[in-house]
Structures are given as C-alpha cells and as structure tokens.
Symmetry: C2
Subunit: 155 residues, 2 copies
Amino acid sequence: MTSPLMARAIQLSIENVRSGQGGPFGAVVAKDGKIIAEGVNQVTSTNDPTAHAEIVAIREACKKLGRFELTDCELYSSCEPCPMCLGAIYWARLSLVYFANVAADASKIGFDDSFIYREIAQPHAQRQIPMIQIMREEALSAFRAWNEKPDKIPY
Amino acid sequence: MTSPLMARAIQLSIENVRSGQGGPFGAVVAKDGKIIAEGVNQVTSTNDPTAHAEIVAIREACKKLGRFELTDCELYSSCEPCPMCLGAIYWARLSLVYFANVAADASKIGFDDSFIYREIAQPHAQRQIPMIQIMREEALSAFRAWNEKPDKIPY
C-alpha cells in the first residue's frame, strides 16, 4: 500500500536530514484525508527531548483544531513511534497510526528505544533510573481537592 | 522521607486545581538540590494532550540549561509518571525520579493510564488504535541519508 500522506511524512523526514533540525523523522496528522499538521524531529535544534516528529505534529494538530482530542484524526509517521510518542497517541485518542520504518531500522542508525520498553516493563526498584515513592499522604490532598471540583475534566 | 522539592511539586498540584489550568499534577526538575524548572498539567487549558506536569517541567529545564539532556538532574512529580512521561524521562536521561501519588490513586479520580501499559504490551494487530506498517522501502532512504551525515547526533 502506498499513501500520499505517508509520502509527505517521508519527504519531511528526508528534508529534516538536509536542514539539520534533528533526526530523520517526519509525521503528519490527517483529518478527512487531508493534512492538518506536520512535524519533524527537533530534539537537538530546539533542546527539547520531547520534540519527536509525532509529538510536534500532535501538538500542532490540537492547536489548529482548538481541542485536546484527535479522535477523528489519523497519524502518519515515517517511523514506528517510541513509547513516549505512543503515550501521546493514546492521550490524544488518535483513531489510527500508519508507520513506515520499523523500530529495528531506527536502532541500526543509532536511535534505539528498546531500552525504554525494557525499563517500563521492570518493577520500579530494578530500573536504571530509580523511581522512589515518597509523601503520598500529602499529595493525596490535591486529588481530594480535585474530586470536589464541580467542573472537572479528567485529562 | 519528606523533601522540600516534593513539597513544592505537591503545592503546584494543589494550586493547579484552584487555578483550573488542568489536572491535579505538579512536577519540578532539580539540579544540585535546587529547583530549575516547574510544571503543572495544562492539557485542557492549552489544548495540548502532551502537557503533563512532567513534560512541561522537562521542556522548561532543557530550555533553561540550553541542552536536551538532564543527566545531572532529578525529577520530583506529585504523581507516578504515565508511559508518555516515562518515555520523556528516559530520553532526557534524568538521573532519578521521586513521585508521591501512585498510579492507582490517579485512576480512582479518573486519570487512568493502565490502558496505555496494556496496549503497549500488545502486538500491533491487537491494539485498540490500529498500527499499520506501509512504505518501509521509501522511508529507509531518509535513514540512509542520515547515515552519510558527518555531524549527526542520534537523539
């Protein structure tokens, strides 16, 4: 299967190598078959470790539509999304994800996300980045205050 | 264990309920025991599904330090990070994560991230958001171009 929307995501990934904004990754968000937002990896050029192509495109699409859900949209990414981007995809409630390069291809050129999957699957105590739980009782007061709000949107 | 840095993250989470910017979540990034960036959940107020407290704080810390790695920094979050935020934590290479409320506490007030863990653990074909792989050969050209770059930073 070929797709002009994926072709655009791939074109963005190629242009991003030339422009030097960041890694060879591009993504577009489409609604009703039309592109409404584009993104490229901008991690190194903007000093933003969250600026993966998918996140940039999702943020831009939400900004354009004026909402935080993309249930009627599809994502086309030039590469299989990493766990961070998958998380964003689920929070944004996209309906469908197309991707081209697979994670193993990215790993071969130095972009390896498999350690994140392995880490997330480990119990806290066994992770490379220690996760330490403290002060739960104090923090619960914010949750109680939230529960009492009449107009809360849990997002 | 109590910590003034976590106390600040919790204070931010409480203030965020009052201000109505978003969910009851706050986070700070600290370096050498001092806060260098703060974040609160701003998903609903800024129409940005990626604006979790941890992501906001990480982006701000990187901006302040002028780099995309936080290897010498620690994160204090008022709640256990979701998979998206964990991904960002790993890409930013934070050294340590403290959290207060646990994921089950957040789930009880409507913020449930367990479906994302379940989804990520599934093969592509069995996910709620279908993941479809197309046009790999075309996309690989961007990776080949990347490989030929002399000054590449794989991030």
